[in-house]
Symmetry: C2
Amino acid sequence: MRNADLEEIRDLPLFRDMDGDHFGNLMRGAYHQNFPPQVTLIEEGRPADFLHIVTEGAVELYAGWNGRETTMAVVRPVATFILAACINDAPYLMSARTMMPSRIAMIAGSDLRATFARDAAFAQAIVRELAGCYRSVVRHAKDLKLRASRERLAAYLLRHARGSGAFDLPVEKRTLASYLGMTPENLSRALKSLGPDGVSVDGMRVTITDAAALVAVACPTPLIDGGDGCGDLSYTGSSSNC
Amino acid sequence: MRNADLEEIRDLPLFRDMDGDHFGNLMRGAYHQNFPPQVTLIEEGRPADFLHIVTEGAVELYAGWNGRETTMAVVRPVATFILAACINDAPYLMSARTMMPSRIAMIAGSDLRATFARDAAFAQAIVRELAGCYRSVVRHAKDLKLRASRERLAAYLLRHARGSGAFDLPVEKRTLASYLGMTPENLSRALKSLGPDGVSVDGMRVTITDAAALVAVACPTPLIDGGDGCGDLSYTGSSSNC
DNA sequence: CGCCAAATTGAGTCCGATCAACGACAGTGG
DNA sequence: CCACTGTCGTTGATCGGACTCAATTTGGCG
């Protein structure tokens, strides 16, 4: 593994404070590979063999049932995913596929469990990581249960506007629709219907023309939309997902 | 705190393996109180001061937004809740209220954080607990996004049937409806509509008259319905097609 | 018995899904 | 350079599921 990659991973909150030797051991048994787009890295139901870390590209976490499929999250560099399954040595609950050419590091789950049993600082980092992941999924569930689809969309746009009034959608609209729990057709209509509420769209480009009006629709709150920047669809993170 | 209570708490996976002195210290600073029904124990948004443990009764975890409200989980003895917020020293994402006369132990969050930094076995237990909670919320989210309301209800009934064909609903129907993401009216209609699919209802009493038919509706899978029983009211999942 | 909350039932409406058609665009190969 | 092709996004029309509102009925409890 390249030194730059190692340092990047070492800088993650998850690994920052752990013992150097332990980190070295973990990484010695790790893989780091390039993948083309649209490659399935993980299939839900399979035993959790490896903790994954995205160092380049983007990975979609999704789940299926009975022929249906839904996007649960998008993970961008540098962040980990499916930590919980590895820790519990349980089957993955989500599948993962690359969305673009990506570089993925993989750490054996057994090494992970052995190390976190020996390294207190690492165990603490894992606790914090998991607690963050847990809270982000709770937010997602609240978003789904408490808001209507138009409101979810408005809140999503505000989360990604971050001060500046214009930005590019970080993912395809069909993926965004799935993440927000609606159909692509409905997302299209919902975007248009937000015109009077201060949203203008041109392709992937979104411009917030009236933030106050949009806020009135979305009623954003840190208890759903978060402040710690973890867990939303596509954030660039030194944190993780899983 | 009574000795019987202490032992019960000590027997929880979360505390079982930790150092005896550390456990003693934690409990010395803890409260244990009785509450009448319908008492609000926690309000979302407040700073997370205490880890809570239900030793008797039942507690509803719920969340609100913009005048709406939804049930996220029901916690029954003996189990903890809002661990994640305490660990992260972050605001609660959910509110909690007693559903019946209940007995609740409370451990100061600061003690908790101090102890898990010193006690490796405790840290490991917390990791497993959190990983389990995380996975249960992921399942809840998958349930909401992938299944229609009728299917969610069918799956819920199967989860709680546990072999025997008859059981009592563990919560009020309005609460169940909220947990499943529907209105009480719709739950009523959905229950009736499951008659031809092998469900008969009399008050709180549910009888599965044709498990195969109900399975055909719910398509249960451990990846949504099964497993490590935190959050929902657990179920040891098995059979699945689809 | 009487009170209140929960549950059911019915009727009407709306949101969101489905189905189908079309335009925009990128990549491919002739 | 340009048809060919597949995917994505949009739009329209229609359908169905779920919500709302309102009226009873049921059941629990003082």
